[in-house]
């Protein structure tokens, strides 16, 4: 059997299909190479950008530089510069370069796992565009580096809290002081004592007591004056008698009584003020001083008035007024 005769070639249409299969494979291979070239930016113009970092750990060639979560550049080269800082050379396709401006900030973040990610932030997209070949510093945020730092600061905070809450700590002392204040507020002089201190509260209480006494003696005086008036009505009512002067005096007394009432109201106000924890102790003391001086002035006026009454009053010779 001759090999030449034994051999039967394939029919034409099958040969054609085999050619088609091989051609398809060839075209796929060429197409894929072209696609890879396109993917790797072979056909697009790029501009260079160099990022300078303290530490380029985790960055690898081919990493993306992302803007708003979209990659706008690719790391092409990482080298250690003369100044001991890492230089990350990035290629930015020109069509994406518009996202990067002269004022853009670059950060290098490293998660717990996976590589580092370089991100660009542009605050103002109307700034001047980033020039080609620009060199920019990159801020580094490293989770795995941050954790020890974070733990250290948390420990510091815990120490502080510990100090605050320990016996003899600031918080304890503060609470002790607060307790003294509340005790004083609950004590004899109440909130006033707590606010003004013992001495001032004492003075205030004294003043109030004196005012009360003064009022009671004024009452007495007015009663007496009333009695005298009824008793001597007729004599007094005589025209050209003492009545004219006395009327004036009574009006004055009324005015003074009004003053005193006002004053007491104000004292009430002062008390209310004092009771308010938020009240200003200083203002209260100032008010008290003014009040005291007014009380003094009124007392002086009253004694002057009584002197005058006594002068005009023919049958009463006692010319002093007892003050509390």
């Amino acid at each position: 059997m001759e090999p030449e005769q034994r051999f039967t070639p394939l029919p034409r249409h099958l040969q054609f299909r085999i050619g088609l299969t091989l051609g398809l494979a060839l075209m796929l291979a060429i197409g894929f190479i072209g696609y890879v070239l396109y993917a790797r930016g072979f056909f697009q113009a790029t501009q260079a950008l160099t990022l300078v970092a303290e530490n380029a750990q985790g960055v690898s060639i081919g990493d993306d530089v992302s803007f708003a979560g979209f990659p706008v550049g690719t790391v092409k080269r990482i080298s250690l510069g003369e100044d001991g800082r890492a230089r990350i050379d990035v290629e930015v396709p020109l069509k994406d370069a518009r996202w990067l401006r002269a004022s853009s900030v670059f950060t290098l973040e490293r998660g717990l796992f996976g590589g580092a990610s370089i991100k660009a932030y542009t605050g103002n997209l109307r700034d001047a565009p980033l020039p080609g070949g620009a060199v920019r510093p990159v801020l580094r945020g490293d989770t795995s580096e941050e954790i020890p730092r974070l733990v250290a600061s948390v420990r510091g905070i815990l120490d502080n809290v510990d100090q605050l809450t320990s016996t003899g700590g600031n918080l304890q002392a503060g609470i002790a002081n607060l307790r003294v204040v509340t005790e004083r507020a609950a004590g004899k002089q109440g909130a006033v004592g707590a606010l003004l201190g013992e001495e001032e509260a004492h003075k205030l209480v004294n003043t109030l007591e004196r005012t009360n006494a003064l009022l009671s003696s004024l009452n007495e005086l007015v009663d007496r004056a009333g009695g005298l008036v009824t008793k001597t009505e007729q004599r007094v009512l005589s025209p050209g008698g003492v009545l004219d002067g006395t009327e004036q005096a009574v009006v004055q007394v009324n005015a003074i009584l009004g003053d005193v009432r006002d004053m007491l109201k104000r004292a009430d106000g002062v008390l209310a003020d004092a009771e308010q924890v938020s009240g200003n102790a200083k203002a209260a003391t100032k008010d008290l001083a003014a009040l005291r001086s007014e009380v003094d002035a009124n007392v002086r006026k009253i004694s002057g008035l009584i002197d005058e009454i006594n002068r005009k009053w023919p049958f009463e010779r006692k010319n002093d007024i007892r003050l509390p």
Binding site: P3, I18, L22, L24, A25, L28, F32, A39
Partner: protein, 256 residues
């Protein structure tokens, strides 16, 4: 048969395969091997090795690619590592699985057949006859088969890889075009010139192994009919170990 003898036989078999590869390579490279008949045999070989198996191969590659890509993407998604899913699929499925899958497919489908055919030629004395008639068996029988298997391997690997690239896209983004940019970036990341060159080299070595070892094993047969199964079996074992060795070496070079 004691162990040193077995070892010696094993080494001899490898030596014969290596020698055949050298001679076969030289024959493939010499233009005189390419006659109209040898071209015709080559086309026939491609028909058997690539065209006939194409539907089964495409089905198998699609099934495997779909399952592996889908599992990878789903797992990566559940771990929140979606950005690495495509890279992983490319590296595992396209760069590693597609070539070895093709090599195994061709070895099973055609390697065994070629080995048996050559062994039977040896048994029947057909090759002897050829040599007696001063027809070079390399030119007439071996080179067309080597070339045919090599072409078939190349085209099947390319088709399978392209299919798996497509499946990776579908598994990741569905059949919508919106993932194209991200996909392109992943392609750019994985397929650097070195990776492509390594891939091509690996496929080339696979092609040589799948084309050469079965023929060399077939030549191990003698005029005894019982020697044929032994020769074919030895050849297939050698082929699988060689493929595994190359794959492991390529992984070691790439990732170790």
């Amino acid at each position: 048969m004691n162990t040193p003898q077995a070892l010696l036989n094993w080494l001899r078999a490898w030596g014969r395969a290596g020698r055949f590869a050298l001679v076969g390579g030289a024959a493939v490279l010499s233009p005189s091997s390419y006659t109209p008949i040898s071209r015709s045999v080559s086309v026939k070989q491609i028909y058997f090795t690539a065209y006939q198996v194409l539907p089964a191969y495409v089905f198998f590659a699609t099934l495997l690619g779909l399952v592996v890509a889908h599992i990878t993407v789903a797992v990566m998604r559940s771990f929140g590592l979606t950005q690495y899913a495509l890279e992983l699929v490319f590296r595992a499925l396209v760069l590693e699985v597609a070539p070895i899958l093709t090599a195994l497919f061709v070895a099973l489908r055609s390697g065994a057949a070629i080995s048996t055919e050559i062994a039977l030629m040896q048994v029947s004395g057909e090759l002897e006859e050829m040599r007696r008639r001063s027809i070079d068996p390399f030119e007439r029988e071996f080179v067309p088969r080597i070339v045919g298997v090599a072409f078939a391997m190349a085209s099947l690997t390319i088709l399978g890889s392209a299919l798996m690239l497509l499946l990776a896209y579908v598994a990741m983004y569905g059949i919508l075009p919106w993932g194209f940019e991200a996909y392109t970036r992943a392609i750019a990341l994985v397929f650097d010139p070195l990776a492509i060159a390594g891939f091509a080299l690996k496929c080339f070595v696979f092609g040589i192994l799948v084309a050469m070892i079965p023929i060399a094993a077939g030549l191990d047969a003698t005029r005894e009919i019982k020697s044929a199964p032994v020769a074919v079996m030895g050849g297939m074992v050698r082929l699988f170990s060689a493929l595994a060795f190359v794959e492991i070496m390529s992984l070691a070079v790439k990732y170790a």
